[in-house]
């Protein structure tokens, strides 16, 4: 039986919403969607590898983030699921407002997120992002 790509895409969209909208301040909940070997690829610092380091990074983000706008509430621009049905990636845009030393800093950018199926469940395995503007 072939993979129902549209069904998988919907599952990934639901996961995106759970991770970035419903539970964005609940780090324990977010960590439950992240694979053990996940990697974050942020700009201007080394990669963040493994669940312990990612948990620390998420805790820091929760502390500094004032507001998330744009994509986070509506899902990514595109989700693509491989024909094998066990690897997928999405591309989207973000707008985040963080606390800075001289007041709020708005950052806009784009990201790629990679997912894989682990024991039948989609898990977040990596994300890289780049700012396109800062104000």
């Amino acid at each position: 039986m072939g993979v129902d790509i549209e069904k998988e895409k919907q599952m990934l969209k639901d996961l995106h919403i759970k991770m970035l909208v419903d539970h964005k301040t609940d780090v324990d909940e977010e960590m439950s969607y992240i694979a053990d070997d996940a990697i974050l690829v942020p700009p201007n610092m080394p990669a963040i590898t493994g669940t312990r380091a990612i948990r620390e990074a998420l805790n820091a983000m929760v502390q500094t983030e004032v507001e998330s706008l744009g994509d986070r509430s509506r899902g990514p621009d595109t989700i693509e699921v491989a024909t094998s049905g066990d690897i997928a990636y999405d591309i989207g845009r973000y707008v985040v407002v963080n606390r800075g030393p001289e007041g709020p800093v708005k950052q806009k950018g784009r990201y790629i997120t990679v997912y894989k199926k682990v024991d039948g469940q989609w898990k977040f395995v990596g994300q890289a992002w780049n700012d396109v503007a800062r104000a």
Partner: protein, 131 residues
């Protein structure tokens, strides 16, 4: 994972490095899918092989990109799609400027096509703070 796929992707990375080192943006672009997307730092989306060629041409001409050494750190996937997390070292020397080196990491989605493995989605960023 098939050892052959890792080897093929490593070979494609070497071809990309060699193309950039030669300053051949057309050869570099030919390693991407026709509908490839780049998400470079601090600029908008680059979409399609022709735009990829223009992007690398600009990096070579304006930033003085001289070399890019790519190293596979992790590769995961199956069938016709693999994702790679890697690290890079780029050597740059813009006209009239001192040579500089940038170190960073990237995520590439590889797609298998009739013409072999191609970069389909490509995003990278520096480990270094902007100067």
């Amino acid at each position: 994972m098939s050892v052959d796929i890792r080897t093929e992707i490593e070979k494609a990375n070497v071809k990309l490095s060699e193309s950039l080192k030669k300053g051949d943006s057309a050869a570099a672009a030919s390693l991407y899918t026709r509908d490839a997307i780049l998400l470079p730092p601090n600029m908008g989306k680059v979409q399609g092989r022709e735009a990829v060629k223009e992007f690398w041409g600009g990096a070579i001409a304006q930033l003085g990109l001289k070399d890019a050494v790519l190293k596979v750190e992790e590769l995961t996937g199956s069938g016709d799609t693999y994702t790679e997390v890697g690290s890079y070292v780029m050597k740059l020397q813009a006209k009239g400027q001192e040579p500089t080196e940038d170190r960073g990491k990237y995520v590439v989605v590889w797609k298998h096509t009739d013409d072999g493995w191609k970069l389909h989605r490509d995003i990278w960023n520096s480990d270094l703070q902007p100067t």
